[in-house]
């Protein structure tokens, strides 16, 4: 086959693969939206309280639970991951301890999320007697996300050229000052991007939270130790356990709403990341 033909064929093949992926994704998104969008944006649904046995319940406490859970998880895991990533990439000398940490992280990354859920329940809810609550869910999700979060933060730090570090150290800066004033600011856009992806995962995670935060509530959770019911878990609950006659529309509406929420949070995080990036590139 001549060079030009084979190139065209390759282009076509890869185009088909690309198109297939988009098609599958598009199909799912359209299905979810078509089925649920009408319910999702009914004020009585997204501003209402859920019902236990009657039809017509809403999901406002679940929306709040989800947002609360995302915020709490980020507050816990961001400093933890960035701190650990800074240690691994800037301070640690390659040795047994670092190898052990990496091995543990890789093992952690392969565990199914239900294992984290059961672990969180055993430790936080039962052993520490916290019961179902937001903070138990947030801690569980922080552990769940640690490997991904840490790895991507570390990658962002590794992308900072070694020459920046050398320049700073050669001017008489300590390693910590170099990390604080040069490495982290330069890696910030990457770190922000690294934090966006887990947000989607936290919002959509159900297995890790059904045993830790709770599944059904009627009032909006206020404190981190309140029982909550994040939307993703509630969708599962409504589908499999709930006794409301209109559970089908609760599930569809909830799914569409969750999709829209993830999208909004995603776009918001990206916008903030971009803004930060522009600011840091403008100098100052």
């Amino acid at each position: 086959m001549d060079e030009r033909k084979s190139d065209r064929l390759a282009t076509l093949v890869f185009w088909i693969f690309g198109a297939l992926t988009i098609l599958v994704l598009g199909f799912i998104v359209v299905q979810i939206l078509v089925r649920g969008i009408a319910t999702a944006f009914k004020p009585s649904f997204f501003l209402g309280k859920p019902e236990a046995i009657k039809a017509g319940g809403g999901v406002l406490p679940m929306i709040i639970s989800t947002l609360y859970l995302v915020a709490l998880t980020m507050v816990i895991s961001l400093p933890l991951s960035v701190g650990a990533a800074v240690y691994l990439s800037e301070f640690a000398k390659d040795g047994l301890i670092v190898k052990f940490i990496r091995f543990s992280l890789d093992s952690l990354a392969t565990l199914p999320s239900i294992v984290f859920g059961l672990f969180g329940m055993t430790l936080f809810c039962i052993y520490l007697r916290w019961g179902y609550c937001l903070i138990a869910g947030a801690l569980t999700l922080s552990i769940l996300n640690l490997p991904v979060f840490l790895r991507s933060t570390e990658e962002a730090l590794k992308l900072v050229p070694i020459t920046y570090r050398e320049a700073s150290m050669s001017l008489g800066a300590s390693r910590w000052t170099t990390t604080r004033k040069v490495v982290i600011p330069s890696a910030m856009p990457g770190i922000i991007t690294a934090t966006i992806l887990p947000i989607g995962r936290i919002m959509g995670e159900s297995a890790a939270i059904i045993y830790t935060t709770g599944l059904f509530i009627r009032n909006i959770p206020l404190s981190p130790v309140d029982t909550a019911a994040p939307l993703a878990g509630y969708i599962w609950y409504a589908q499999s356990e709930a006794m409301v006659p209109d559970y089908k529309s609760v599930v569809d509406g909830g799914a569409a709403l969750l999709l829209v929420m993830v999208l909004v949070v995603f776009l918001l995080a990206r916008y903030l990341g971009k803004r930060f990036q522009n600011k840091s590139h403008a100098g100052k």
């Binding site: 920046y164 320049a167 700073s168 050669s170 001017l171 800066a173 000052t177 100098g283 100052k284």
Partner: protein
Amino acid sequence: MMEKKIAIDSLNMNYGSFRAIEDVTLDILSRHITALIGPSGCGKSTLIRCLNRMNDLIDGVRVEGRVLLDGDNIYEPTYDAITLRRRVGMVFQRPNPFPKSIYENVAYGPKLTGMRGKDELDYIVEESLKKAALWDEVKTNLRESGLNLSGGQQQRLCIARVIAVQPEVILFDEPCSAIDPVATQLIEDLMAELKKNYTIVIVTHNMQQAARISDYTAFMLVERQGEPGRMIEYGDTNAMFTNPKDERTERYITGRFG
């Protein structure tokens, strides 16, 4: 008066089990330019990085022997590397300004030592940029990113950044290898000016450059592959380039290898 600024005394440097340089003894005179020349891989960059302990940053580096700065051994365990690097600044092979504004690049060092006052910082930034012959080109856009400058300008920004720390010695590690001839000329002129106030050591692979700008030259060589780099000859630059004592030096500077 020939004042010794740095005395390198029987210095060996090892990366793990590999010995990179061996038994280097060399005096660096105050307010003169000393050039380190030699073929690639001869250990000249390694040697210059021993003078401000930049090699400390690499795992598995072990140094034996002494490097005396004004008579004090910088490899004494009690010697503080941070203080050392403020006294012995460095300009690198590739210009490496921070992704910050021109102003912040120059102010970085002074701020480390706790300088905060705006007037004070403004003054030192302006003075440093002037000494680095960059002020006229950047005085209207100090707030712009240092990365937007041309390569030669970036290298002068890095020189200004070093000057702002007010070091006594400035190490140049092949400072012109990544910039064009016109910018190289500017930097060479600048060095000639800087040696009035600073002790300068420059690593260069360019023998003409060493001959043009330096007062003293040290020639280093790895004789057989796998052996450490050793210093072959050291002396007055003119004498070495017109009448080298060692046959290996002669072969190198006449371009027969390297």
